[in-house]
């Protein structure tokens, strides 16, 4: 009896010979699962309310619509028929089944930094998720972007294949943080400004970028508009719970916190914080913004009536409930997209096990006109020692219409 069971087991192994030996070990699969958290695979490949990794989420890129594919091991509609080599190539080179060229909405430009072992662990994990039959038509881009061959040109300009190279001068913790940020964590995908082709701008690593109607903040060490005044603990707490004494995660970062960073290990969060804080020295806050006194007076009065009950007269907010505005890098950022959006539309913070409240800010678009929004935003960008260029009425008007066009 035992022998025949063994025979069946062996025959099963041999019929799945395409899979490298040992792929079913718990440790390997679990490591792959954790890498899927680091890589936030579910953030794009799981539709809200949908089956895990069955795809179907529409991404609105500057070039048109892409729908995320099904990456479950379903033979017909997923990646069940992909070889391990094809899986590795998709992550590393942006080339999928039969060499199909992927669009860089799939962050292969950063996944290419991942180690061989990590990619294979991820492969092992994805073989174990439940196959879901869900046909997705990914490429819904307009001409000429729908021609996948165009990625040949894009890659030549914007893509460099290659593994992460540790910096021997730095600590293991620093290098682990750098690996996550540059590799699986694909932080640059949102936080690094893009050129006209959507490729990362050189020399602007993690300096903040606008996408999907939100500004992904500047993660440089600048004390005014970067994370220069945040401590490592502030960063860890933010990534772990979505809330710290400075701010609360909302918008696309709420999804990243929910699906990815809140599930990372404490040691990985500490490593990310170490890398982000130490990758460059902090630079002193400087700005020469000048705002007219009338604007400050009007904005201050509007602030008192509409904002101060939660954010307080001193702009300090309340940790875990109401973001601090005084000294806030997001408030002072050169690109005010998020600030204008949140004032007009309101927002809700993420709920995590560590900070479950998920407080909301109401919309003010029905209550404040464009002049008033411009004045109050100019005020909070320049009150309490803040300094940033003021906004004019036209900027608010334009933000209103773009929000109405793609909410």
């Amino acid at each position: 009896m035992r022998r025949s069971l063994l025979a069946i087991a062996l025959s099963l192994v041999f019929t799945r010979a395409a899979i490298p030996a040992g792929t079913q070990s718990f440790d390997l699969v679990e490591r792959g699962r954790y890498l899927s958290v680091l890589g936030d695979c579910g953030g794009c490949h799981t539709r809200p309310g949908g089956q895990p990794f069955a795809g179907g989420l529409t991404l609105n890129t500057p070039f048109g619509k892409l729908v995320t594919p099904n990456i479950t091991p379903d033979q017909d509609t997923g990646i069940g028929h992909w070889s391990t080599e094809e899986f590795v190539s998709a992550l590393r080179e942006g080339r999928g089944h039969n060499g199909t060229r992927l669009y860089p909405a799939m962050p292969y430009p950063t996944y290419t930094r991942m180690t061989e072992d990590d990619v294979l662990a991820l492969r092992s994990y994805f073989l174990t998720v439940a196959p879901v039959h869900n046909q997705v038509v990914s490429n819904q881009l307009p001409f000429p972007f729908n021609v996948r061959l165009s990625m040949l040109f894009w890659n030549a300009v914007n893509f460099t294949s290659g593994r992460f190279q540790p910096d021997e001068q730095k600590s293991a913790v620093w290098n682990r943080g750098a690996y996550i940020v540059q590799g699986p964590g694909h932080c640059v995908t949102c936080h690094t400004p893009k050129n006209f082709l959507g490729g990362d701008k050189a020399d602007a690593d993690l300096m903040g970028a606008t996408l999907q109607g939100w500004f992904a903040p500047n993660l440089s060490a600048d004390e005014r508009i970067g994370i220069g005044r945040w401590s490592k603990d502030d960063l860890v707490q933010y990534l772990k719970t979505g809330a710290n004494s400075w701010t609360l995660a909302s918008g696309p970062m709420a999804e990243a916190v929910s699906h990815s960073t809140s599930q990372m290990t404490d040691s990985d969060l500490a490593a990310i914080a170490t890398y982000l804080k130490e990758r460059s020295g902090s630079t002193a806050a400087n700005s020469t913004a000048v705002v007219e006194q009338d604007t400050m007076r009007a904005g201050g009065a509007i602030y008192k009536d509409n904002c101060a009950a939660c954010h307080r007269d001193n702009g300090m907010g309340d940790s875990g409930l109401f973001p601090r505005l005084a000294g806030s890098p997001l408030v002072q950022s050169a690109d005010p997209t998020t600030l204008v959006r949140v004032v007009l539309e309101g927002s809700r913070a993420v709920s995590t096990p560590g900070a479950p409240t998920a407080p909301a800010m109401p919309a003010f678009d029905w209550r404040l006109n464009d002049d008033q929004v411009a004045a109050v935003i100019s005020y909070i960008r320049n009150a309490w020692g803040n300094s940033a260029p003021s906004l004019n009425t036209a900027a608010i008007k334009s933000a209103r219409s773009s929000l109405a066009a793609s909410p």
Binding site: A309, D318, G320, L321, F322, T357, A358
Partner: protein
């Protein structure tokens, strides 16, 4: 508040014909997610230890003849010591702001000297007092009372509750009562419970739905679930192992009556229990206009204020007074919303230039003191199904039969006199005492403290649920702490006791009932 869903009929006495209420006024029950917890004021009081043995205590101290023959007050089936840990838990959930007066039997300066023992200090310190309550406290102290800050679930500082939920610091906007809190500083379910529940994978809130009845199996001794309708009127059945009736006191009673759970109360015979011992709250006030003071009364919260408890429950000798019961009294400042708040001296015309002038001169100098008195239960104060009027689904409306009795009116006169004495010590220009007068007027706001109807007790002949808020008749139906389980109402706001009983019941269900489903007694 949706009268088309929740209206009831009302009459003052059994000889009258009850008519439907078109607008809620005297009380404002909640309807929707969070219920009345959305628009409560946050006044978070414990009952006195003697309140829990009310009949026994009063009969022992004053003799059986002291109580009117038609007064149907009864002892609670649990005592203060048993409930204390659950009071403590609920206050920690809310982050209640206050000052203990009795920590494990040790008197604490600055707190309520009459309160039952507390196992711990309030989770957050008292709210800062505004000027009116400060002046009241000075006057009360001057004539020998011990004023203390009212316990408030509008928080003095931000707080993280045991569920990990953050509650903010109150901004004194003065829009607690009748409104949801806009900045997370009042302890409503939306702030201090629901965000944690919503994270649970096995939790679903079926909103925009109304339960029409609790379904029973053929034996009538076990509930199989509930039937509910959605906004399109479509009917659904939700099977259940345990049904918790948490629909607000009045609606709890109607739900049991419509579902045939427990024997309906018959006031003529005094038999039956469901609907019996409906009680309310006996409130009164003293209007005060001061000289050249600027009170800024719009700086307000639902529950700050300075109170005295000298005339509550049996904290004072009722010998020779001709009544039992009492209440706390003092100065709060729940609001001075400008359209609604137009105090003027007596003799001012009701309109025109002189009224406007008097309004402008008085707004800053006037405020109200209030008493919050008990409402004991009587044989002829009850809830049943109306014989005539039906709701949009064809179900009989709930009928309320209620009036103040002499005992409560005498108590209110006595309390209001005591309060007026303190008001006089404030050197006022004018005071206007308004003791509660009968008949009960359902068209004037008083409080939303409707109690009784599914009362808890030790004897199935005089109670609907046992000491674990479990139905005597259908063991998997619980009424976990709605004020409908109060055998009578005491001289305090009910919410702290409602919350404590909810925890008490939940513990009994979790630790005992689920392991061995059946009657717990």
């Amino acid at each position: 508040m949706r009268p088309e869903q929740d209206t009831l009929t009302f009459r003052n006495s059994m000889s009258q014909t009850a008519l439907p209420i078109r607008h809620f006024a005297s009380f404002l029950p909640g309807n929707g997610v969070g219920g009345a917890g959305v628009h409560w004021n946050g006044q978070t009081w414990r009952f006195l230890p003697t309140d829990f043995q009310l009949r026994t205590h009063l009969e022992q101290r004053y003799g059986k003849d002291m109580l009117p023959t038609d007064m149907t007050i009864q002892d609670w089936p649990l005592n203060y010591d048993e409930l204390e840990p659950y009071y403590d838990r609920f206050e920690k959930l809310c982050g209640t702001s206050g000052k203990a007066g009795n920590l494990r039997g040790q008197q604490q300066p600055g707190g309520n000297p009459f309160e039952g023992w507390r196992s711990s200090e309030y989770p957050t310190p008292p709210l800062k007092q505004t000027y009116g309550p400060t002046l009241f406290a000075e006057a009360a102290r001057k004539i020998g009372h011990s004023p203390f800050p009212q316990p408030a679930s509008n928080l003095s500082q931000s707080y993280i509750n045991p569920l990990g939920l953050k509650i903010g610091q109150c901004t004194y906007c003065g829009f607690c009562e009748r409104f949801g809190c806009g900045n997370y500083s009042k302890s409503s379910p939306q702030v201090c419970v629901l965000p944690a529940l919503m994270r649970l994978p096995n939790f679903t809130a079926q909103t925009e739905s109304e339960v029409t009845r609790i379904n029973l199996d053929s034996s009538g001794k076990r509930a199989t679930g509930v039937t509910y309708i959605d906004t399109s009127g479509e009917e659904w059945e939700q099977p259940a192992q345990v049904v918790l009736v948490c629909a607000f006191a009045l609606f709890n009673v109607r739900m049991l009556l419509l579902s045939g759970i427990g024997k309906a109360y018959d006031a003529q015979s005094g038999q039956g229990v469901v609907g019996r011992n409906y009680a309310y709250q006996t409130t009164s006030g003293v209007g005060v206009i001061l000289k050249d003071k600027i009170l800024n009364p719009f700086i307000a919260t639902g529950a700050h204020g300075m109170m005295i408890d000298d005339y509550n429950g049996d904290n004072f000798d009722h010998g020779g007074l001709g009544f039992v019961g009492g209440g706390y009294m003092g100065a709060g400042q729940t609001n001075a919303r400008p359209i609604q708040t137009r105090p003027v001296p007596s003799g001012t015309p009701k309109w025109g230039t002189r009224w406007k002038k008097a309004t402008a001169e008085t707004y800053q100098r006037a405020f109200s003191l209030s008493t919050h008195g008990s409402s004991y239960s009587y044989r002829d104060c009850y809830l049943d199904l109306d014989p005539t009027y039906k709701d949009r689904l064809g179900r009989p409306l709930l009928r309320m039969t209620f009036d103040f009795h002499d005992n409560e009116l005498k108590m209110s006169a006595f309390l209001t006199d005591r309060l007026a004495e303190i008001a006089k010590a404030m050197d006022p220009v004018e005071i206007t005492p308004s003791p509660r007068k009968g008949p009960y007027n359902i068209n004037i706001y008083q409080t939303t403290h409707n109690t009784g109807g599914t009362v808890m007790g030790a004897d199935p002949a005089t109670s609907v649920v046992n000491r674990y808020c479990q139905s005597w008749d259908v063991h998997n139906v619980f009424v976990p702490g709605g004020a409908s389980v109060f055998p009578q109402n005491h001289g305090y706001n009910p919410t702290d006791t409602v919350g404590a009983l909810a925890y008490w019941t939940a513990d009994a269900i979790k630790q005992r009932y689920l392991k061995n489903p059946g009657p717990l007694i």
